[in-house]
């Protein structure tokens, strides 16, 4: 084969690679895709942590749901906690607020909530089954689920007030 042909092929492949690399700067390789957006929320039935009884997604028919996955050892979760308290007071009548604690102990969570306040119900997911069903990739993560129990969006970082307002507007429509 002609040497120049080989060099040309190498050049073309190299050019494609260069373009791809240039386009890749700024992409976060650690970001995990989330495919459940627009899909029905997975059913769950979990023990309550702050009171007796279990919570069933099916029992919340017709109500928008805000799900927050968190853990006590996670610093950003503690930062986010006041925002959720504020949001639960503001939107508590329009949507159901549910916190889900996983990869944590019941004891530590109760202590945390007693110290920092708890204005919405908390579930305990000892085996992380619910977290796996929801495709959780870290803590904290907040899911916004509409009346028909379709996941409208997920926010995978500590949320602030204005972001929360924007996201919840989508499920209250």
């Amino acid at each position: 084969m002609n040497r120049n042909v080989i060099l040309a092929i190498v050049g073309v492949l190299g050019a494609a690679f260069f373009i791809a690399v240039m386009l890749s700067f700024g992409n976060d390789p650690h970001a995990v895709p989330f495919m459940l957006e627009g899909k029905p929320a997975p059913a769950f039935s979990m023990k309550r942590l702050d009171a007796d009884g279990t919570v069933n997604l099916a029992d919340l028919k017709g109500k928008p749901v805000v799900l927050n996955f968190w853990a006590t050892w996670c610093g950003p979760c503690a930062q986010e906690h006041p925002v959720l308290e504020w949001a639960a007071k503001k939107y508590g009548n329009d949507a159901v607020f549910i916190g889900v604690v996983f990869e944590d102990t019941e004891e530590a969570t109760k202590k945390f909530l007693a110290q920092r306040g708890s204005s919405f119900q908390q579930l305990y997911d000892p085996q992380s089954t619910m977290a796996v069903d929801y495709g959780v990739t870290g803590v904290p993560e907040t899911y916004f689920i509409d009346r028909n129990h379709v996941i409208v969006s997920k926010y995978a970082a500590p949320i602030n007030m204005s972001t929360f307002d924007k996201h919840i507007a989508q499920i209250l429509k």
Binding site: M1, V32, P33, M35, C74, S128, V132, Y134, T137, G138
Partner: protein, 154 residues
Amino acid sequence: MNLGLILLAAGLVTGQYAPQRQGTDPLDAEREARVHRLGKGLRCPMCQGQSIADSPAPAARAQLDKVRELVAAGRSDAEVESYFVDRYGEWALLKPKPQGSNLLLWLLPGMLLLAGLWIILTQVKRAPTPGAPSVSPPKADDDYLAQVRNDVDR
């Protein structure tokens, strides 16, 4: 054993650190091997690039539990995979499905191999004339090499 230290460390664990957790009980050997094989092919979302069978992270253990649950429920390999693909897209599979542009991953190495093979064949002289001695006597390039060959080829 120092009980005081244990209590201290354990107290520390509940406050600042994520507790470690154990997985669900293993199934019978055959199905457990399947769980492990499936786990090897699924990417753990919380631990960079490792499979859920390899990663020591609690999240990976929870996902492996899910695989075990699905296998115990008699689901097929494809169904187990699609459970994770539904959540994380094809990103969850450590071995991409050979479809669309993913095919390049498998075809390009093969093409390279064929091209290389062809180049090697073009480097070879035409077949020697029949009857000619099939061993060409080594041409001595110099005394030193000849000496070396002498030592070696004996």
